[in-house]
């Protein structure tokens, strides 16, 4: 039993880290990098309009993913585990999309007493994440679920 639990937890952790945490950390890092560049480039005070607290969301996602991983390892709860993973994945994407203002980073800076508004559109990264990570994972999970259900019906 402990072997199953450990395997499930590790699988859940790995899955959430590869498909949710790393890409989203990368996206928010690009946003922060852009902000730092503004600060250094304009040599001025800058105002954060959004304070990111992604760590708390990441911790919650990893924790839920580990529990879902355990469910996926169990023969009885496998389908429920897969469904929950699908839900977690889609919710995570929507949550991060909202936190990151839909990928449009807008900041107000003051340069030599002149107010400047700077906006960078990084929606392309979120679209790439949606199309190349979220969508294939959803399709792969659905295929997996279909395969498990078919096998169960055959028996």
């Amino acid at each position: 039993m402990w072997k199953h639990i450990t395997k499930g937890v590790l699988k859940g952790l790995g899955s959430s880290i590869i498909s949710i945490v790393i890409p989203l950390w990368l996206i928010s890092s690009i946003g922060s990098y852009f902000e730092r560049a503004l600060y250094e480039g304009f040599q001025t005070q800058y105002v954060f309009t959004v304070e990111y607290n992604l760590e708390a969301y990441f911790a919650l996602i990893i924790f839920l993913s580990a529990i879902i991983g355990v469910l996926e390892e169990s023969n009885e709860w496998r389908i429920l585990g897969k469904s929950l993973r699908l839900g977690l994945f889609v919710i995570s994407f929507l949550l991060i999309y909202t936190i990151l203002d839909g990928g449009v980073f807008s900041r107000t800076v003051v340069v030599n007493n002149i107010v400047a508004e700077i906006t960078i559109d990084l929606r392309l990264i979120l679209y790439a994440y949606g199309f190349f990570i979220v969508l294939p994972t959803v399709i792969a999970t659905l295929i997996d679920m279909f395969s498990i259900t078919s096998k169960a019906l055959e028996k």
């Binding site: 480039g41 107010v115 906006t119 990570i133 078919s150």
Partner: protein, 241 residues
């Protein structure tokens, strides 16, 4: 079936990695351009014609970086209204002049309703990352300049009667109604002023009596043009014999 799912995931993740890496390179290059101030937009000419219903702003834009800036436009933002120029592509060491036509109604709104004015530019960096930068410095370009033309002195019993003639330049195709607050020593006077569109209005300020000693030391004469309750322009003139 399971292998197909894994293959779809693998392909998706590989493509995502490629896109992320490509975007990282683009953003790194763009921030380098920002740090080196490779993008520039300067208002070079304001074409004002009293009979025209528009004000034409010519903005010189230049790029000294190594990439291509696609769909480069300059824009003027008056709260929610955005007026844009035609778009162009800018390459390395290229300078282009873009024009924006500002309708007279929007100018009236900016002057009389204290609407914030932002002048900016937007482009798509290498056609991949859209960036928009707007500065609130248009007020310095479209401000009413106060110039001192002539100071006349008339000696009267060890005191001087001083008259100052000034000129106020109105860069807008609008007749501007405001108040000119003239302060010198303890004397202050408010004059109703009408500025001619796209032109210079000459105003003779009221004559003030100043003692010889004070004039020898130098007297500061302050002028504030108030339009719609807001100081639109200020100037201090030093009077000395």
């Amino acid at each position: 079936m399971k292998n197909i799912g894994a293959l779809i995931k693998f392909l998706g993740y590989t493509l995502a990695l490629l896109v992320f890496v490509a975007l990282l390179i683009e953003i790194y290059s763009m921030t380098t351009d920002l740090n080196q101030e490779n993008f520039k937009a300067i208002v070079t000419n304001v074409k004002c014609s009293p009979k025209s219903k528009d004000l034409e702003l010519n903005v010189e834009v230049s790029y000294n970086g190594q990439r291509i800036l696609k769909d480069f436009r300059v824009f003027l933002k008056l709260e929610n209204i955005v007026l844009k120029s035609n778009s162009t592509s800018l390459e390395h060491n290229e300078t282009v002049i873009l024009s924006i036509e500002v309708p007279i109604e929007y100018l009236r709104k900016a002057v009389y309703e204290n609407t914030s004015l932002f002048l900016g530019f937007e482009f798509s960096y290498d056609g991949v990352v859209p960036l928009k930068i707007a500065f609130r410095d248009l007020e310095s370009v479209l401000k009413f300049e106060i110039e001192s033309l002539k100071v006349s002195y008339f000696i009267y019993d060890s005191k001087y009667n001083v008259t100052v003639r000034i000129a106020i330049v109105n860069p807008l195709p609008l007749e501007i109604h405001g108040k000119l607050v003239f302060t010198v020593l303890n004397y202050s006077k408010t004059l109703d002023t009408t500025l001619v569109p796209c032109g210079t209005t000459i105003i003779n300020l009221p004559t003030v009596e100043i003692s010889k000693e004070q004039l020898e030391k130098g007297v500061e004469c302050s002028l504030n043009l108030v339009v719609n309750g807001k100081v639109a322009s200020s100037r201090t003139i030093s009077i000395k014999t």
